[in-house]
């Protein structure tokens, strides 16, 4: 009787004392195994292309004299959206220059462009696949949830173990974190193309592939562009975190300012990121509204 009472007492007060799930150890083991197994693979096959694209983009951006850069920003903003956006872009970039973080901004911009390039390269096909197979999308959904909700700090460590310190692990973490919107919105955009267009294409004997490329994809373009815009914003929000593992640019400015309690330095980096984000946002939104499928929406 006494024993039973003691057992129940323990069960009520500390039901978790009975089982010790060795999850920490398990994950440590798994990550160690992954690192040991894939380190060579990732350093030979993943790092070089990522680093190559990054240095290519950075080289290209660096080769443009800042004055020309401002001019191009104006033209791009004007063409994509309006002259206001063009003027805003020039003012924002000029401010960044006046604050003395132009070179850091170029690095950050290169990081973002590179990350977004890989997000699109991988995300677009995955999004198309998701839209065409319910089963594949059912598999993708939890993966996307994990990619978006896992705190980035958690996978910084394995990223470093796999790719060592520097821009590359920062880029990999950024790509993982920023890719979901491209996949989700490509899938959504294609699935939401009005059935009457599909029916019309079918009635004229189109194959599934023709329907995808001639009808669904162009009509999904505004939605896909919205996804791209989100991806760019997410990539920018990762640059500070990526600085912790050695990525350079404006994020490093913020991180270094924090470490040295130099509030001014941290804020300059932060303002630079905000300005860059706003310019990129306005331009890509403008591009989204220019997308072909946007014509006569809602008419």
């Amino acid at each position: 009787m006494g024993e039973l009472f003691e057992f129940l007492h323990a069960l009520m007060n500390d039901p978790f004392g009975f089982v010790d799930l060795p999850i920490r150890q398990a994950i440590t083991d798994i990550v160690n195994w992954i690192v040991a197994t894939f380190r060579d693979f990732s350093r030979t096959y993943i790092s070089p292309p990522v680093r190559g694209v990054m240095s290519g983009v950075q080289g290209a951006l660096n080769s443009v004299p800042p004055g020309i850069f401002l001019l191009v920003t104006f033209i791009l903003g004007w063409w994509a959206a309006s002259w206001r956006v063009g003027v805003f872009g020039v003012i924002a970039f000029a401010l960044i220059g006046f604050m003395g973080v132009w070179d850091q901004m170029i690095i950050t911009l290169s990081l973002v462009v590179t990350a977004v390039f890989f997000c699109v390269l991988l995300g677009l096909p995955l999004g198309i696949l998701s839209s065409r197979s319910d089963r594949f999308y059912a598999f993708m959904r939890p993966v996307l949830d994990i990619m978006q909700t896992t705190p980035p700090f958690v996978y910084l460590v394995p990223a470093v173990m796999l790719f060592s310190i520097g821009n590359v692990p920062g880029l990999i973490a950024t790509i993982v974190f920023a890719m979901p919107p491209v996949i989700r919105l490509t899938n959504l955009g294609i699935r939401h193309v009005n059935a009457e267009f599909i029916e019309a294409a079918l009635a004229f004997g189109s194959t599934k592939r023709q329907i995808l490329w001639k009808v669904q994809f162009p009509l999904a373009m505004p939605t896909i562009m919205a996804g791209l815009n989100q991806t760019i914003m997410l990539a920018l929000s990762m640059v500070v975190i990526a600085a912790i593992i050695g990525a350079g640019g404006l994020g490093l400015e913020v991180y270094a300012g924090l470490e040295r309690l130099n509030i001014g330095q941290a804020f300059v980096g932060g303002i630079g990121i905000v300005l860059l984000a706003m310019v990129l946002d306005r331009i890509t939104q403008g591009l989204g509204e220019k997308a072909p499928g946007v014509r006569d929406r809602g008419e």
Binding site: E196, A200, A203, S206, K214, P218, L219, R295, D296
Partner: protein, 408 residues
């Protein structure tokens, strides 16, 4: 050209379960209650001749849109057969075609026009018209030329570079029609093509379609919920109710002899003046209303009892020779010509100064209008020019008052 045999479409989780119940002639509602399946189309059979416009008329939800989609199998019928007379390969059963065969059929032999146009908003008008040709794999140059030709035909020649959103509804549907015509498919499926248009534009488009059809002689399956439209456009009309075809016939047959209550209710409000033809209302020559007044030089004369001063002379073959009013010859003209040419219309004081002849297929409306030109009886002639009968005021009035009788 197209022959449908007991085409049936049942929507639901287990369509097959409803088939035996249909055989027992259970109604749509009973079947839904018993099996949970919804009958879309119930054993529809019809035969569309080459070059005709076959209209399927019914209220929304009667299954007409489902039926037309069964023909090109955008919706797969649950049971039944659809035979298509392929110009080269003989008779095909569309329900037995595989993916590839079906695609070829849609590319080459059957095109479609949609209620809400379904033009691709990201393509120009010309590129929309050329879509079917693109799928056929024609070269760019060739398909642009062909698309431009069809665009000219629907009266939108200069609009090729515009986008659909820049066009009005009527113009957009002209583009839809042009896209359907561009592939030279023998069969054109039109799913309520003019229902989304304003009433005035709608009538315009109906005339446009008739004009184009006179030129191209396509086989057209035309869906509509508007009986007047069906009567104006269709050579034959099938009336659908609750997934079933309840009557098939020429517009006039349906108007004069509605087979069910449902059809009769529709027909009640139809406009008879554009459907009833001269041959239906004409007083036939063998009627006892006519009095023969002898023969002269091989021409035999007769007049109506109530109109002795108007005499009609016919030769031995029964062709109209002359018309006399009070022993004086009056000029004889074709009713169709007089209606088209306003200048030929004499002042009202001369309305007995000209006699008119019309074909058997002239409709009531035309004959009524001709009364503004001539008040003499209209002579109805057949294709060979032989006189079939006369139409005077009593016949016209009976026709307007929906004379329901036999069709000769």
């Amino acid at each position: 050209m197209i022959r449908a045999e007991n085409v049936t479409k049942i929507f639901g989780s287990d369509p097959e379960s409803a088939i035996p119940l249909l055989e027992e002639n259970k109604t749509k509602d009973e079947i839904r209650e018993l099996t949970g399946q919804t009958v879309g189309v119930n054993k529809a059979s019809f035969d569309i001749q080459q070059g005709e416009v076959f209209a399927i008329m019914g209220l929304s939800g009667c299954g007409k849109s489902t039926l037309i989609r069964c023909i090109n199998r955008i919706i797969d019928p649950t049971a039944g057969h659809i035979f298509f007379k392929h110009p080269e390969r003989g008779e095909l059963d569309i329900t037995q075609l595989d993916e590839e065969g079906l695609r070829t059929l849609r590319k080459e032999n059957m095109s479609m026009v949609f209620q809400h146009f379904a033009l691709l908003p990201h393509r120009t008008v010309l590129s929309n018209v050329g879509y079917g040709l693109e799928i056929q794999g024609r070269r760019r140059q060739q398909r642009q030329e062909a698309a431009q030709r069809v665009l000219d035909m629907v009266g939108l020649g200069p609009w090729g570079r515009s986008y659909p959103s820049e066009l009005s509804g009527g113009m957009q549907q002209r583009v839809g029609l042009a896209r359907g015509l561009a592939t030279d498919a023998e069969v054109l499926l039109m799913d309520e093509p003019f229902s989304a248009l304003d009433p005035l534009i709608k009538v315009d488009m109906q005339q446009e379609l008739k004009r184009i059809q006179r030129e191209l002689h396509r086989t057209i399956l035309f869906i509509t919920h508007d009986l007047d439209e069906a009567m104006r456009i269709g050579d034959h009309i099938a009336i659908m109710e609750d997934g079933q075809i309840v009557q098939i016939g020429s517009p006039e047959q349906i108007l004069v002899n509605p087979r069910t209550e449902y059809v009769a209710k529709f027909v009640e409000h139809a406009d008879p003046t554009s459907v009833i033809t001269a041959s239906t209302i004409a007083l036939p020559l063998n009627s006892d209303q006519f009095v023969s007044t002898g023969e002269r030089d091989g021409i035999s004369y007769l007049h109506r009892k109530d109109l002795p001063h108007v005499r009609f002379g016919m030769d031995r073959e029964g062709r109209l020779h002359d018309v006399q009013v009070d022993e004086q010859d009056v000029p004889v003209r074709r009713l169709e010509e007089v209606l088209e040419d306003d200048d030929a219309r004499p002042a009202s004081s001369e309305r007995t100064g000209v006699a008119l002849t019309c074909g058997e297929d002239a409709v009531l409306r035309q004959i009524l209008r001709s009364r503004l030109v001539s008040t003499l009886p209209v002579v109805v002639t057949n294709g060979d020019g032989r006189v079939r009968g006369l139409i005077d005021d009593p016949e016209l009035i009976n026709g307007i008052l929906e004379k329901r009788g036999e069709i000769p």
